[in-house]
Symmetry: C2
Subunit: 363 residues, 2 copies
């Protein structure tokens, strides 16, 4: 199983995981969350204007459901006009016919599409403390839902769309005693590290937490300084991975999820892997494997996507380290490659992405 | 395939349908709805007090998810204290391991459990007209969701929990030009026929509709004089049945759904059947087959459930024609019997229902 996959971490377990899901069709679940943290100027690229980040998860969900957005015109773009990585997820879904569920972790703007409600609320600015209400309850709902969902599929791919999510990921990691400083990713070309770290330091301070203050209580870390995607995502993965393999589709935002699972239900770790993009594992401004090495030996599989030869400038710039990951793009690309036993590869995946992008642009 | 199933209508197509789903495990979807119509004194038995009907769908959903209710104490009961038919659904689910999804058609009280949101709102008193808001949109969302859901299962069983639903069913039938007077079921021992018919006459009048006024527009019939379960249920079935078989789990409330499908997408009719209980097809105070004969030749499969020998009085009285059906009970019983190729039968299904009921009563 070489295919277009990089076994980026824990190669042996990664290949074993790939063998278990090869040729099979997953159920894709996309967990959405909003946090006011995304609106702090300079934090997120997921939306042209800070307030616009409220619409990004809903727009991603609509794009995946309908092939076009309903809550906004066009598709979600970064301030530089780079289109959402949900295009990759769409391509993978079209090529494999995988079913999908949208899961509401907590939103300011609900998608104009069917979604699963878990009773969550949108998240606050972590600098003010108590960022996520109801985390315990959402986590429990998600866990039961995930367990049930596992009966409908041979395995799950779970992705997320949460603008500002790498900043809240860093804060949650710090609260759990995992130093992720200098290592979390960014959707922007220039990773605003110092800003993120200042926000996180202030977040911990407001919540009267020291580094590692929630070492044994990840749900408290999520409640205090995380975002509403986290408890929903963690519960969903935990419930499903008690039954079937689950590919966590994302970049450094997956680190606090994996860390939480270690504390909440370490048994499920043998059933999970992280699926991401080449852009994440080759990124010089972040270090997914480095963070995970402080957590556990979970394998990382990265899809060897390349947009270098794209006809669209908006896609070519992915090669300069913009956007990189989101909306389950990397994990669904890995899943499509394995589902097709390598027939889907970097080249025809790009072709499909370009076809979809052209269709949306109306060209 | 004799098993404990009555091929109550269109025997040949019914057996063919059964053959297609035999040995397979379904996905069960339960569509919930509230309508103010249920609070008209004398209309519904689904709740000890009229206002209590708001809680019945949520409580049914919680019972199926957690094995106990969260929104109320105990289990939903009729004014006479007869427990919800969701006990049968639970038994069938436990015996087959079928996965489940709760779908919100439009509620006053949301379940304290994960559910699928389609953007619906709870329904008004049909005597005042314009009973269901947003029906077109909910129907569209449900249709897309159902199509997607069909990818996760070999077939679907779709049930409903909608107090007051037989009255709104009658009104919707009348609006579509199908005379169901004297033929819709009731959860009470004495079917309050005259009351229901007066309500429906007034409903049509308030909506400026004559009998058959929405002959070619079922969504308008639902909007004007139906309940919020209807557009959600119809869309879900239509979307799913375009791909896989769908068993419509319910009694006379299924008639307006089947009638709507005839108009909206007659192609899917070859992929559907109605699954109900013996109590419905043997009921002398209603006539499911009679109504359906005015619609189309859809087959009806009834589970030969019998509670005559139960140790619980609350269950024995089902034999006197109380409750009879609801929360997908009959359809899920049919599904369990076929899934097990007859190993699950009337007798061991009752044993499981009694075991669950005793567990809930804490005995």
């Amino acid at each position: 199983m070489e295919y277009d996959i990089i076994y980026s971490r824990n190669d042996q377990a990664g290949r074993k995981f790939a063998g278990r899901i090869e040729g099979k069709r997953p159920l894709f679940a996309l967990v959405l969350g909003n946090t006011e943290t995304a609106k702090i100027p300079g934090v997120s690229a997921a939306g042209r204007y800070p307030e616009f980040t409220d619409f990004t998860p809903a727009a991603d969900a609509e794009l995946l459901y309908y092939g076009k957005c309903k809550s906004i015109e066009g598709v979600p773009v970064t301030p530089e006009g780079i289109p959402t990585p949900a295009l990759i997820t769409m391509a993978a879904m079209e090529m494999t016919g995988a079913p999908m569920l949208i899961v509401n972790g907590g939103l300011n703007v609900n998608p104009k599409a069917p979604f699963v409600e878990l009773g969550g609320e949108s998240g606050g600015d972590i600098r003010k403390g108590d960022a996520v209400k109801n985390a315990e309850n959402v986590y429990e709902n998600a866990r039961i839902f995930g367990r049930n969902l596992a009966k409908t599929a041979s395995y799950l791919v779970v992705g997320e769309s949460t603008p500002g999510g790498t900043t809240t990921a860093l804060a949650a990691l710090l609260a759990m005693g995992i130093s992720g400083k200098g290592m979390v990713s960014s959707s922007m070309a220039e990773n605003p590290r110092t800003l993120k770290e200042e926000i996180c330091d202030q977040a911990l301070k407001s919540s009267h937490l020291e580094f590692g203050g929630c070492k044994d209580n990840p749900l408290k870390a999520f409640s205090k300084v995380g975002d509403p995607m986290m408890p929903a995502f963690t519960g969903l993965v935990q419930g499903a991975a008690s039954q079937v393999p689950v590919l966590l589709a994302g970049g450094t935002q997956m680190a606090p999820i994996v860390a939480a699972l270690c504390k909440l239900d370490a048994k499920v770790l043998s059933n999970i892997a992280v699926g991401t993009t080449r852009w994440i594992v080759e990124d010089k401004n972040s270090n997914l494997n480095g963070i995970l090495s402080r957590v556990t030996d979970v394998p990382v599989l990265a899809a060897k996507v390349s947009f270098a030869s794209s006809v669209h400038e908006g896609l070519r710039v992915y090669e300069q380290g913009l956007v990189k990951e989101g909306a389950g793009a990397g994990g669904m690309a890995v899943s499509a490659i394995l589902n097709s036993k390598g027939k889907i590869n970097s080249r025809n995946l790009l072709n499909k992405v370009e076809e979809i992008y052209s269709r949306i642009l109306g060209k």
